[in-house]
């Protein structure tokens, strides 16, 4: 019975992975199969009634609404900026910043994408930076894969620290205690994701050439992340290190002259100056910072939308607690209103300056619908499946199985649990919410440090979210053409798995050395 329960619990995840990686289906088809498998297992083996399954699926759609509002508004801002010529102008400036394609690839895929994750997140770095990588002459598959792994260091403290707050919320760990050691543990993933991006962009030769640069930039970025956490500035602990890393690589790139040419640089004809081109994203950065001002945050504290969910129980006694306001969409704090306000201000300022193109909104709207529809259907079904797995007690069985591994093995396995949650939901935050309590129970049962296990959960979730199928979906939908998610996943996933293994060994070493 226990083996059957375990197999049924793991089956939805295997269906999702098998559909994408083996059958090479589009992610929304694999997610449809995974939801059906999850519902069948929940109803037959786990004793979940229709009300519980329906409620869990609705929760999944609540989370989808929260995430997809951001993706739709980010894709709209991006397609509008592209239509107005802003993306070409930014690309020209960034592409001109270095004659060395390797430094440029690192700047885009690793540090600038980390900065974008800091201010927006939820797939926006992939949507914005992958096209720039293509303009720099890389293939679409390489571009998406490099950005997926390249920005994954920035996810826990990205989106203004949403995943970091989630892990505190569900494990009860104090943020002031968790932040600084977590930032120190992040130095290894920062370093690893930099080398991974170099490997995807330029192979082993690129890794050798990039090593000194990645060591220096990782040291700078990791130190700043640690210092920011020491002063309690977790919400900007990805944004500012990303910006610092970008500035460092920009300065290095400027000092390097090589004979290597960048494939498509001459095809880019900028219509706008860099200042005007960067305006939509500059406004977004400014508004994101303003949203952190306590007075503004407090003034808008009540302005939010959320659905409430009842406490329910399966026939086998697994209890799901009631949620008064599940996945709240806050006027200040949710990136979508900031993205839309940036778009509106861009419209007003461009019009005033005479830079506005007639019909741009209509074209951007049509492009956004075309690019985001498949992603939305895929993410909705994936997150619905994840919530059915969590609320029916399947996730608890998976955690119990992990617990039986024993202390040292569990330490190495714990970031993989974070990775798994993020992989199936596409979100470090969702993974922390889904598996955080179970990691907490496991750490107590095995007498392990809750702080270390909470860190391992979100470290694995950070990398897992970066290489999750929804990011591949976003990348392929933005770039269009014949790029398949399966090709991108095959390219990105090995780096994610290796990165999380290194994190597991790092967590084990820290624990063996007696740090708690």
């Amino acid at each position: 019975m226990t083996i059957l329960r375990f197999l049924v619990a793991i089956a939805p995840v295997l269906a999702l992975l098998g559909g994408i990686l083996v059958l090479r289906w589009r992610a929304y088809r694999a997610a449809a199969l995974a939801w059906l498998v999850a519902v069948a297992g929940a109803a037959t083996v786990y004793g979940a009634g229709p009300v519980l399954i329906t409620s869990a699926s609705a929760k999944g759609l609540s989370l989808t609404l929260l995430v997809m509002l951001i993706v739709w508004s980010a894709v709209f801002l991006y397609t509008l900026a592209a239509d107005l010529g802003a993306v070409d102008s930014i690309a020209r400036r960034i592409l001109d910043s270095s004659g060395d394609p390797l430094v440029l690839g690192l700047l885009l895929a690793w540090t600038f994408s980390g900065f974008m994750q800091g201010i927006a997140g939820f797939g926006v770095p992939v949507a914005i930076v992958a096209p720039l990588m293509v303009l720099a002459g890389h293939s679409p598959v390489r571009s998406i894969a490099a950005v997926m792994i390249g920005h994954s260091w920035a996810i826990t403290f990205g989106s203004m620290g949403s995943s970091f707050f989630a892990v505190q919320l569900v494990t009860g760990v104090d943020g002031a205690a968790l932040g600084p050691p977590l930032a120190l543990l992040f130095i290894l993933p920062i370093f690893f994701t930099g080398l991974s991006a170099a490997h995807i962009v330029a192979g082993w030769g690129g890794v050798r050439r990039a090593l000194p640069l990645v060591v220096a930039a990782s040291g700078l970025m990791g130190s700043l992340m640690w210092a920011l956490n020491l002063i309690g500035a977790a919400p900007v602990s990805s944004m500012l290190p990303g910006l610092l890393g970008s500035l460092f690589l920009w300065l290095v790139g400027r000092s390097r002259t090589t004979t290597t040419t960048i494939a498509r640089i001459d095809q880019v004809t900028p219509r706008l100056s860099f200042g005007w081109a960067f305006l939509p994203y500059g406004l977004l950065t400014l508004l994101s910072l303003l949203a952190q001002v306590p007075a503004i945050k407090d003034a808008a504290a009540g302005a939010s939308f959320a659905l409430g969910y009842p406490g329910l129980r399966t026939a086998q006694g697994f209890a799901v607690p009631a949620q008064e306001a599940y996945a709240p969409i806050r006027l200040i704090g949710h990136p979508a209103p900031l993205l839309l306000l940036s778009t509106l201000l861009t419209y007003l300022l461009y019009r005033r300056r005479g830079l506005w193109q007639p019909g741009a909104v209509g074209r951007a709207r049509r492009a956004t619908v075309r690019q985001s529809t498949g992603t939305t259907v895929g993410v909705a079904l994936m997150v619905m499946m994840a919530l059915v797995v969590a609320d029916s007690g399947m996730a608890a069985v998976l955690a119990d199985a992990a617990e039986e591994l024993g202390g040292p093995v569990y330490l190495v396995a714990s970031p993989f649990i974070g990775l798994l949650g993020a992989f199936v939901t596409g979100s470090n935050t969702n993974s922390n919410v889904m598996f955080g309590p179970l990691q907490l129970f496991a750490s107590q049962a095995l007498a392990l440090s809750t702080l270390t296990i909470a860190a391992a959960q979100t470290l694995g979730g950070s990398i897992g979210s970066g290489v999750a199928p929804d990011k591949a979906l976003i990348g392929t939908s933005v770039l269009g053409g014949d790029v398949r998610e399966a090709e991108v996943m095959r390219r990105a996933l090995p780096y994610g798995l290796l990165g999380v293994l290194l994190i597991g060994l790092e967590v084990l070493a820290v624990s063996l050395l007696g740090f708690r």
């Binding site: 449809a32 699926s57 759609l61 609404l65 659905l307 079904l381």
Partner: protein, 51 residues
């Protein structure tokens, strides 16, 4: 076209699932809402003719 219709179905699934499951906690309505999503999933799994 299939994806556009699926998006529309996903959009109406949220109120359907939420009202039948979380609000009314009605077993029969919930089963109906689940069948609606299951049909959507089976439709997505069916091979596309125009490819």
């Amino acid at each position: 076209m299939k994806l556009r219709l699926s998006l529309f179905a996903v959009m109406i699934a949220l109120p359907l699932l939420y009202i039948s499951g979380a609000r009314l906690q009605d077993g029969q309505l919930s089963t109906g809402a689940l069948i609606f999503v299951a049909v959507l999933c089976l439709w997505l799994l069916a091979p596309e003719r125009n490819r």
